[in-house]
Symmetry: C2
Subunit: 344 residues, 2 copies
């Protein structure tokens, strides 16, 4: 009847008073209803309902030491793989009754540190994060010091729990594919490696496979960011006799940007030059030309990372898990056509 509208949020104590039980019993009614007599439970719930009462998690968290909230720290959601990663992680979190606090770092290690501190001040039970480089991350050290559970997503590491694809192997696969198409001079394009150890590993993997296949050394061209190109650098790269016939870009967003730039520079993809990406964003298949890439399912990475984190929080077992990748053959990388003048 007297449902309070707006204002005075009722507390558990008042519910207890009205239901003529102790606060502890009301608490039990909500947390372990099995411990409360059916009749008492019913009465408590009736009173609670009538007031629209829901337990205040702040009080509960403060007392119990668990917020049932996880943090998610990702470089950006502009890249659909990270958006997928969120969805995978949140879905898994929700399944176990956890909420998710999220923040993006735009690949900036300074923001990264600030973001993580802001998050852990909220006393999160754990954090899933993608850092620039786990080997020299102040953030990971801070988490460890404070005893906050965490799992890396996308970053590979032998010293920290993580959920990622085998970037080295995936890059090998791509180089092998390009080689099979007849390419012998491949270039690797990425943003600054200091911002992404994934890109660095992909480069290393590419080079090692190129070597073992007897291809030319893969040259590395660095764009201003991980998602934008510099036409000047591209033009220079394509100027000269030893120019690459295929470009392996460290991610799909960059590959997309490269294709647009090449078009602006008067090159046709894949007729004049082949382009491959990494990530397997869904838009790759509807692009023109469709993107040759490595699928590294973001949803799986996020879901797995969250699963590992919960294992760590709830069962104190810390482990890593690799997520499989697949080569997606698109139209952006084609069989090498020797120029007319070189044909027999």
């Amino acid at each position: 009847m007297d449902n309070k509208r707006r204002g005075a949020p009722v507390s558990l104590i008042e519910i207890a008073r009205e239901a003529a039980v102790s606060p502890a019993t009301v608490s039990r009614a909500f947390n372990r209803p099995a411990l409360v007599q059916a009749k008492t439970l019913e009465r408590i719930m009736a009173v609670a309902e009538q007031h629209g009462f829901r337990p205040n998690r702040l009080g509960s968290s403060l007392r119990s030491g668990s917020t049932r909230t996880l943090g998610l720290v990702l470089p950006t959601l502009s890249n659909p793989v990270f958006a997928d990663c969120f969805e995978g992680a949140e879905m898994r979190a929700r399944e176990s009754g956890y909420s998710v606090m999220m923040t993006v770092t735009h690949y900036d290690p300074a923001l990264e540190a600030a973001a993580v501190h802001r998050l852990i001040d909220h006393q999160l039970d754990g954090v899933i994060l993608t850092v620039a480089n786990p080997r020299q991350s102040a953030v990971l050290k801070a988490l460890k010091t404070r005893g906050v559970s965490y799992v890396l997503a996308y970053n590979e590491s032998s010293t920290h729990p993580c959920s990622a694809v085998d970037n080295h192997a995936a890059a090998c696969d791509m180089v092998e594919h390009l080689a099979q198409l007849g390419h012998r001079r491949i270039a690797f394009i990425s943003g600054p490696l200091s911002m992404s150890d994934r890109a660095a590993t992909r480069l290393t993997g590419s080079r090692s496979r190129a070597r073992s296949l007897g291809l030319s050394l893969i040259r590395h061209y660095i764009m201003p960011s991980h998602t934008q190109t510099d036409n000047g650098i591209l033009a220079q790269m394509l100027d000269g006799a030893a120019r690459p016939s295929a470009l392996f870009c460290s991610n799909d967003l960059l590959a997309t940007a490269v294709i647009v730039s090449l078009r602006e520079l008067g090159y046709s993809v894949p007729d004049d030059i082949s382009v491959a990406g990494f990530d397997g964003i869904r838009y790759g298949t509807v692009m023109s030309p469709s993107l040759t890439t490595i699928e590294a399912a973001g949803y799986e990475i996020g879901k797995t990372a969250c699963h590992l984190l919960l294992e760590q929080i709830e069962h104190q077992q810390s482990r890593s898990q690799q997520v499989p990748h697949t080569l997606i053959t698109g139209a952006s990388a084609a069989r090498l056509n020797l120029p007319l003048t070189h044909r027999p």
Copy 2:
């Protein structure tokens, strides 16, 4: 020296003891440092630093009644406009020292309700949300009852504060554009309208403009979801003499799916049929054909929504703000080519 590693998180009380001041002074040192003598402040900060102390927000929130955390409830991040919306909102939130808790509903009103309750149990200071339909939303009622501030994003409403584009006007613009290209029979394609009032408004807008321009009535075809097509329905739609020459899809993801389906059904876009979308996702420009669409900047919507929400929380003023839209002319909608048999 004796930096505690892992474990026993230091509390403000211990810092106070060690700095030989009262807890209240330590609290002031962190919240209103100006109220503390420089020397005392320095000493407190030194001790705090030494222990890696950071105030526990749970205690602070419980006592002060503010968590400095906002909730964000969106249908899905698979749609890049919502990912952008998050980035805009989070950026604005961070600017004012707020953190963001996020959840996705997959357009499901049941999930919507559960999600919002889970969030507000965390005592958020406010919530930004996109609901199926604000006119009959249990969720909005719940927020109002509990006195939680909120702002709608994407939903338009005259009774709730919101940040959105003028969907009616934008749809009019698109129909006008298609009419200018010579199209007289346009169809509107969307998911179930009960899941999205935006789609409903866009349909209404389209029809009203079609009427005023003297075009045929715009027929509405409903796909199983807002992002996936049913080839059967499409095939049926295109079977017959009065088939539409242009399809206006309620969002870009759906438009993309429609283009793929049409291709599977043997139609060429835009030669056989024109397709337009709504949202202005960035991949639209690199698709083939590039997408004709309405740009409704998600980043702006999110940023504005957050700004309005903070105004509400911090200055008790509640208002709405419209975000401008623009027509993007792509290649997916072309001038109507009359079939040869009909040409003079």
